[in-house]
Amino acid sequence: MDFVPKAPREGINVSKTHPLKEAATLILGICGVLVLLFVVLAVSIDVAVRFIPPDMESKVFSSVDLDDVFEAVADERTEKVQDLVDRLARHWEDAPYTFRAVVIGSDDPNAAALPGGTILVTAALLDDVETENELAFVLGHELGHFKNRDHLRRLGRETVYALAFAAVSGVGGGSIPDLATISKELTSRGFDRGQERAADHFGLEIVYKEYGHVGSAWDFFERLATQALVAKVLVAYLSTHPASDRRIDDLKDFALKQGWALEGPAEEL
């Protein structure tokens, strides 16, 4: 036998698929499945939350004495805010909560709805608002969170996501957590923004019922929109609330659709 030197054709032992294309397909496929999983979990939580009666929620959370946690400022402003909350809550028929207003001394203008019926308002917010209508809208927004059981929903969702995350992390040797985090972030942001919009709409409706118009309701946010650019960008990125200008546009559209007057006298604070 003779030796005849020959070489085989190049590339028989490699695939012709471009690696980047394969990476894109795999990533999108897996992210798609994960996003679907997270959406299904979030929707089931939304359904389950409706079965938790508000009085059970009030009982569990009212036992926590919030005065110990926050430095509450008990002055005449608290009484005024409580008064406004009571007036607004009257427009929500059969509200299952007794609302309690608490003012805390903080430099950050903010408001929060705590489980059990407590509405938290910071002193800085009270300093920043100029008309009663603005404060009414902020309080109405928090009432909206109570109506939709948003805090319970968010709590349930976070818990279920953590469990799903733990279950999924073991699979596939380590790259899954990155993809799972990304999928979770995408679905979370969507759901959170949806909740905030719903709370906004409810707040605006309450304002309309109280004053007969929605003028000056979002002045506070318009002032926020003209803040320094850097602060706005950071706030927009870090918060789940939609950016102020988008929020204002959405509120205007909603009010117009409902046929509410956009102008009207503003009440003094």
Binding site: F3, V4, I12
Partner: protein, 104 residues
């Protein structure tokens, strides 16, 4: 294309030999098979899923080796050997190699 893992093809003579040809594939199993295998690990028995998987991969590797031999103009591959190794977690590389020759 004649394949054999003997040194020569019985009844034929090797006229020319060209060199070593090889084919390989790397295959991973999916989570479904993983879970079934985990269960089988408890009771014992053949892991049919894996048998199938590796069988297919071996066939693919052999096809690639044959393709290389064909591109050289050979009509037989002698002394074929197989090797299996684990190159990634949950994946196996199937390797087939032999010498491409022309027999008459």
């Amino acid at each position: 294309m004649l394949l054999s893992n003997t040194e020569t093809i019985p009844g034929k003579t090797i006229v020319e030999f060209y060199g070593v040809v090889s084919g390989n594939t790397v295959r991973a199993k999916h989570v479904g098979r993983d879970i079934m295998a985990g269960l089988k690990n408890i009771v014992g028995g053949e892991l049919k899923g894996y048998t199938e998987l590796l069988g297919e991969s071996r066939q693919e590797a052999t096809n690639r080796m044959v393709e290389q031999a064909q591109s050289m103009g050979a009509n037989a591959v002698v002394n074929v050997r197989f090797a299996t190794s684990s190159v990634a977690q949950g994946a196996a590389e199937l390797f087939a190699y032999g010498t491409a020759v022309r027999v008459e």
